[in-house]
């Protein structure tokens, strides 16, 4: 079985010589969960945003679901990838002018050309899975943050993706709303969804992830299984970061 994500020596630098990504290489296998951790500004978000073409890179090679992308940023290949990769954002980014159900059915109907009724049926099934099917007719602004984020997950799932990207999905939520979102993500992982998750949630990383990737200033410091990373991190820098997270 081919890996879902293979990144080789990804490098992205800004004009001032600052490197957002510095020779990043990684592999994510089918059904695995990779958690990306690191201090802010370390390039975590930039990294996972390159996976579906929201961010370009200057050097290196990316292979997502067997589709190879390089620094030329081929629009057609990226479009192909986006149809098979779902993404959940920190700020939910729901469409405020569409109802919850319309948010979810927009892409299936117009990108995958599925029938409206069929898409709505599947959308309701997903909302049911997320425990928010009673809100289907409401608008995003009428929902709490946690509910909005679960809608965003359902929206990403509506395209039946083979890979899900999470960019700090719980960072914008009230503390008491974080668990409902993490639980939904746990369920997905149990169902065998391949996921790349940028997060600061140690509990989630410990329980769910198969690998933890730690980044600092654009470099991969270490990639370890969670039990090793959290008890006995190999690098001084990772230990320091974890200590700071603990005290915080």
């Amino acid at each position: 079985m081919d890996p879902i994500v293979v990144a080789k020596n990804l490098t992205k630098s800004y004009t001032k010589g600052l490197r957002a990504l510095d020779n990043v290489s990684l592999t994510v296998d089918q059904g695995k969960v990779l958690v990306v951790m690191g201090p802010s500004g370390s390039g975590k978000s930039t990294l996972i945003r390159t996976f579906n073409g929201l961010e370009t890179f200057d050097k290196g090679e990316l292979n997502i679901l067997g589709i190879k992308v390089d620094s030329t940023h081929d629009e057609r290949k990226i479009q192909k990838i986006r149809r098979r990769v779902g993404m959940v954002f920190q700020q939910f980014n729901l469409f405020p002018h569409l109802s919850i159900l319309e948010n979810i059915t927009l892409a299936p109907v117009h990108v995958q050309k599925r029938r409206q009724i069929e898409a709505e049926k599947y959308g309701m099934y997903l909302l049911n899975q997320m425990g928010i099917d009673s809100h289907a007719k409401k608008y995003p602004s009428q929902l709490s943050g946690g509910e909005q984020q679960r809608v965003a997950i359902a929206r990403a799932l509506a395209l039946k993706p083979e890979l899900l990207l999470f960019d700090e999905p719980t960072s914008a939520l009230d503390p008491e709303r974080i668990n409902e979102v993490l639980d939904a993500m746990r369920n997905l992982a149990e169902q065998g969804m391949t996921m790349v998750v940028v997060t600061h949630e140690i509990g989630f990383a410990k329980d769910v992830s198969d690998q933890v990737l730690f980044m600092d200033s654009g470099k991969v410091i270490e990639t370890s299984p969670p039990n090793i990373f959290f008890s006995n991190a190999r690098h001084e820098r990772s230990r320091k970061f974890l200590n700071q997270l603990d005290t915080y």
């Binding site: 073409g53 993404m87 009428q142």
Partner: protein, 344 residues
């Protein structure tokens, strides 16, 4: 027996005393203003009721409404105006929004072909040339047609101005800037006098349509700027979200950007269409007999000579009424649209 509650009256009296007549200076000012207002009111009402001769209005009502449309066919424009009015009432007090959004827009757009059919005739109705059109009918026709034409044109211009292709972006900016730098009356002159010169021999565009095109060209530049404002206030994350769902550029514009931009620009767009309605009166100078033009031609009639004030007061009332209807409709639409979007 009768129990009249005089408490509120006493309270308001005390309030008045406190605010308007608290000291000598205030008392003098208040009295002066009260006298001034009463004199104005008395004079105005005296003129309206006793001095003014409303025959010039009353005996010409069909003229104001339909211009020189043949009398036995005047039911046609009347039907159109009544259908517009009833659609407005229906929009305001009709059934719930979700159903409305799906069907009402089609009905509103449908009023244009209906109006044109009723005015032009054909297919069972006797054909009537556009030079017989006039009055309020023509004013409304100019407004409705120009608004509906300039909206899509304005959207396209706004999108072009945001385009990543430099040529298209430059061209549309130049167009918008040029149109905003030319006075409307000049554009209208251009439409009436120059367009016929540019067209090849044998092709002739109706005067009414030339006016509609000139208004469209002018207003769409302003609409484009309003919509550009709406587009710019949509956060970039919306585009990212749409991108990550695999929507292509056109789908993003159609399903994510335009609907949101229109909602944001709605108050400005209302302003434009009310302005457009009033600006149609400029066509009176250029020889179209719309509402103001009818007024002028009636004043030219020896029978009513010198009765300027009556005619213009009456015209002001008609303009005011139609504009109020438009404003109320737009406010209703705005409220309906923002109900679901308290925060972006």
């Amino acid at each position: 027996m009768f129990k009249i509650n005089i408490n509120p009256i006493i309270i308001s009296y005390k309030k008045l005393r406190k605010t308007l007549f608290s000291n000598l200076f205030n008392t003098i000012i208040s009295l002066l203003i009260i006298v001034l207002i009463s004199v104005t009111c008395v004079n105005t009402f005296e003129w309206l009721i006793f001095k003014a001769d409303w025959k010039v209005v009353i005996s010409n009502l069909p003229l104001y409404a339909f211009g020189s449309f043949p009398p036995n066919e005047q039911w046609r424009p009347a039907t159109w105006i009544i259908s517009l009015l009833s659609l407005s009432i229906f929009t305001l007090y009709g059934p719930k929004w979700r159903w409305l959004r799906k069907n009402l827009l089609i009905l509103w757009i449908g009023t244009i072909p209906l109006g044109l059919f009723l005015l032009y005739g054909g297919v069972g109705l006797s054909p009537i040339m556009s030079r017989y059109w006039g009055g309020l009918t023509l004013t409304i026709l100019l407004t409705v047609c120009s608004s509906f034409l300039s909206l899509p044109f304005g959207i396209i211009l706004a999108l072009c101005r945001q385009s990543s292709l430099p040529l298209i972006q430059r061209l549309s900016s130049i167009y918008i800037d040029a149109m905003r730098a030319i006075p409307l009356i000049a554009v209208l002159f251009f439409g009436q006098l120059l367009i016929p010169l540019f067209l090849p021999v044998g092709i002739e565009i109706d005067r009414v349509w030339r006016a509609i095109f000139a208004f469209t060209l002018f207003v769409s530049a302003y609409i484009a700027e309003d919509i550009r404002g709406g587009l710019q206030s949509i956060p970039n994350t919306q585009i990212e979200a749409a991108n990550s769902l695999g929507l292509n550029q056109y789908q993003i514009i159609q399903f994510v950007l335009i609907p949101q931009a229109l909602r944001i620009a709605l108050p400005a767009l209302t302003n434009q269409s009310i302005g457009l309605f009033q600006n149609t009166s400029l066509m009176a100078i250029l020889g179209l007999v719309e509402l103001l033009g009818v007024g002028r031609s009636i004043l030219a009639n020896p029978e009513f000579i010198g009765q300027y004030i009556e005619v213009y007061v009456w015209l002001a009332c008609v303009y005011w009424m139609v504009c109020t209807i438009m404003a109320v409709l737009a406010r209703h639409l705005e409220q309906r649209m923002t109900i679901n979007q308290t925060n972006f």
